[in-house]
């Protein structure tokens, strides 16, 4: 009875359970120097508001048809670009807004609430750009990041191969130095935005000696997508996030000028891995957005559907399911916020980023599956929104570092911390 009153009150304060803005903070902040705070700045709230409005009014209505057709959401991406929701990490010197990872995460969560397929297409831009942002020289930044703010262009992060995903050091794409160029041969796979990118961040092996350590054997390149020899494969039909463009890419004698090497020969592995510390929190935020959507849809349904003479939300079995879903969503949010805040403060956040990504990916799958359960038979059907969420959620345990790789990283970081 008390629970029902609380539930009713919180539904009435806003469409969403989100702790950050459903309770619009009209009270002034009691700011103390330092100490933990869970309050967003006014600017962050405004950014979140724009992203939320866009997601709710423009992404959500269009998402089901993009999911059915698998068509790339060009119109939505263009609109998001116009609103400044994409490319938030690009430094101001290149025409971007130079926002931190925390702000990017806020936006990402809102977009993912609308559709994670659309959000992944957008997020792949950040992943592709990150190596250039952290390791590019001024000329490279101006040339390749600058153009992203002048037109709605896409880019891609080209590392995974058919034979090597988690084992990045096992990639076989070779780059041989020939005069002032590098000639690249190899095969990449599962490249998000592969067919739509204007340029790629490419990781290739420059030292053929198998005994050469990973930290010296690989080089990061920026490759224009229209370079002769770059062949795009067909668009892959995946389980979920179907409007996102995923392809294999073949490099056949592709010539890259030496000006497009990031930092220098042999520096690639560290750059490729370094990008993840900044991109894993937004991926976790995306998974959280999906989970929040699943929770909201399930809650809404439970307040409409009746069985055994009562609303299903009145039945403890369902209410407890919703409670567990809520627990997971709130914790996932806190996890990515911590990871994002750490890196924005200038600290190495690998431990927190991995925790956030691992947890959010896992709970997104659990919460989406539970949402289908709450909907019952209807949930299994494509006329209702939750089956799509379940299909979309799976990839969060796979890309950007599998759930297993995350555990490897976390255990390693944890043991190192413990020993010191």
């Amino acid at each position: 009875m008390v629970f029902f009153k609380v539930l009713r009150a919180s539904v009435q304060t806003g469409l969403r359970f989100q702790g950050t803005s459903a309770r619009a903070a009209t009270s002034t902040l009691k700011t103390a120097q330092g100490g933990f705070r869970f309050e967003l700045t006014d600017q962050q709230k405004e950014f979140q508001e724009v992203a939320r409005k866009f997601a709710r009014e423009e992404i959500i209505p269009a998402a089901p048809s993009y999911d059915k057709s698998g068509e790339y959401p060009v119109a939505l991406i263009k609109r998001a670009w116009e609103l400044g929701l994409i490319n938030s990490h690009i430094p101001e010197s290149c025409g971007g807004m130079g926002l931190g990872i925390f702000d990017a995460c806020l936006i990402t969560e809102e977009l993912a609430y609308g559709c994670t397929g659309v959000q992944t297409a957008i997020e792949a831009n950040s992943l592709g750009q990150m190596p250039v942002i952290i390791a590019g020289n001024d000329m490279q930044k101006k040339k390749y990041l600058g153009r992203m703010t002048e037109e709605p262009l896409m880019c891609a992060y080209c590392v995974t191969e058919p034979g090597a995903g988690s084992d990045v050091a096992g990639i076989k794409t070779r780059a041989e130095k020939k005069g002032d160029e590098y000639v690249v041969n190899g095969q990449k796979m599962w490249i998000t935005n592969g067919g739509k990118a204007n340029w790629y961040f490419l990781l290739a092996r420059t030292d053929p000696d198998p005994k050469c350590p990973a930290s010296k054997a690989f080089t990061g390149f920026i490759v224009d997508a229209d370079t002769p020899g770059v062949q795009m494969g067909r668009k892959e039909m995946n389980m979920g996030q179907r409007c996102s463009d995923t392809r294999g890419i073949t490099f056949e004698d592709v010539r890259i000028p030496k000006e497009n090497v990031l930092i220098g020969e042999g520096a690639g592995f560290k750059i490729a891995m370094g990008a993840f510390d900044k991109t894993r929190p937004p991926v976790a935020a995306g998974a959280t957005g999906l989970a929040q959507r699943a929770l909201d849809e399930a809650t809404k349904y439970s307040l409409e559907r009746k069985t055994f003479g009562r609303l299903i939300s009145d039945h403890q079995a369902v209410a407890f399911l919703l409670a567990e879903m809520a627990i997971k969503v709130e914790l996932a949010r806190l996890a990515y916020q911590r990871a994002a805040w750490e890196v924005d403060e200038g600290r190495r956040n690998t431990y927190y980023a991995s925790i956030a990504k691992a947890f959010a990916g896992d709970i997104a799958n659990q919460v989406a599956s539970d949402a289908v359960q709450v909907f019952g038979g209807n949930g299994y059907n494509s006329e209702y929104p939750v089956e799509k969420l379940m299909r979309d959620a799976k990839i969060y345990q796979i890309y950007e570092g599998t759930a297993q790789i995350q555990r490897l990283i976390i255990s390693r970081e944890h043991l190192v911390k413990f020993k010191n």
Partner: protein, 254 residues
């Protein structure tokens, strides 16, 4: 073309929120409830910014009357493209009693102070649905008014306004300075883009007290009671048309 446009923006409870009446029936619950810019005010801001983009007017000034939080609403207008803001500080009991008469006095005083050519307001606010401020402001200033505007065209020193009226559309031509109130179909308000939100932080908001404008805020209205609308009664099913008619007659509806 030194035209300055004043746009009034009101902070109201967000349209999507379910309104609850306070237990003491003196008003509705506002604490902790999501607020945003009145949708008709958004349309007004959009129209003003469009005129500026067409280079027909020079400056858009957003005005809001209320407590500290009114500045959030002004910031939204700035993020949409207004040049600067004026926050008329009204709080406490004065704010509770702030109605169209008081606001129009304030707007009239500001219009004179700021050498305004055009005042654009929303046709009404979604909390009180008064639909009076535009009309009262025009009367106080003795300016022509074009209310329920669905189209606004500047023509030199005049402005043509197409108004939505019960019978259809009416076209009026007003000699500026004038007051226009925006109706739903005037335009579709733009989103504030992220870069514009950041730029808006650098735009100025002046804070002014009603006393400085020589405005008396006394209200001649007293709210006695606020109640929820009556609960919808259950209907009943009838078998035949004859039964329907007899039931309606019984209930005194025929």
């Amino acid at each position: 073309m030194s035209a300055r446009v004043l746009v009034g923006v009101k902070r109201v409870i967000d349209y999507a929120v379910k309104i609850r009446v306070k237990p003491d029936n003196t008003g509705v619950v506002t604490d902790g409830v999501k607020h945003s810019m009145n949708p008709f005010c958004e349309i007004a801001v959009e129209e003003a910014v469009k005129l500026k983009e067409k280079k027909l007017i020079k400056e858009v000034v957003a005005v809001s009357c209320g407590p500290q939080q009114a500045q959030e609403t002004i910031r939204t207008a700035l993020a949409m493209g207004a040049d600067r803001g004026i926050h008329v500080e009204v709080s406490g009991k004065d704010y509770d009693n702030l109605g169209p008469l008081q606001v129009s006095k304030i707007l009239a005083a500001l219009a004179k102070k700021e050498e305004t050519s055009l005042i654009i307001l929303g046709k009404q606010a979604i909390d009180d649905d008064c639909n009076q401020t535009g009309q009262m402001t025009a009367a106080l200033l003795d300016w022509p008014q074009g209310t329920f505007a669905s189209e606004v065209v500047l023509e030199g020193d005049k402005v043509k306004v197409i108004r939505e009226i019960d019978g259809g559309l009416e076209t009026v031509r007003l000699k500026m300075p004038a007051v226009i109130t925006a109706d739903l179909r005037l335009n579709t308000p733009r989103y504030a883009t992220l870069p514009n939100i950041m730029k808006a932080k650098k735009k100025k908001i002046d804070v002014v007290k009603p006393g400085e404008l020589g405005v008396d805020l006394t209200s001649h209205l007293e709210v006695l009671r606020v109640d929820e609308p009556p609960q919808r009664q259950a209907g009943m099913k009838v078998e035949t048309v004859e039964e329907l008619i007899s039931r309606l007659k019984e209930a005194g509806r025929m």
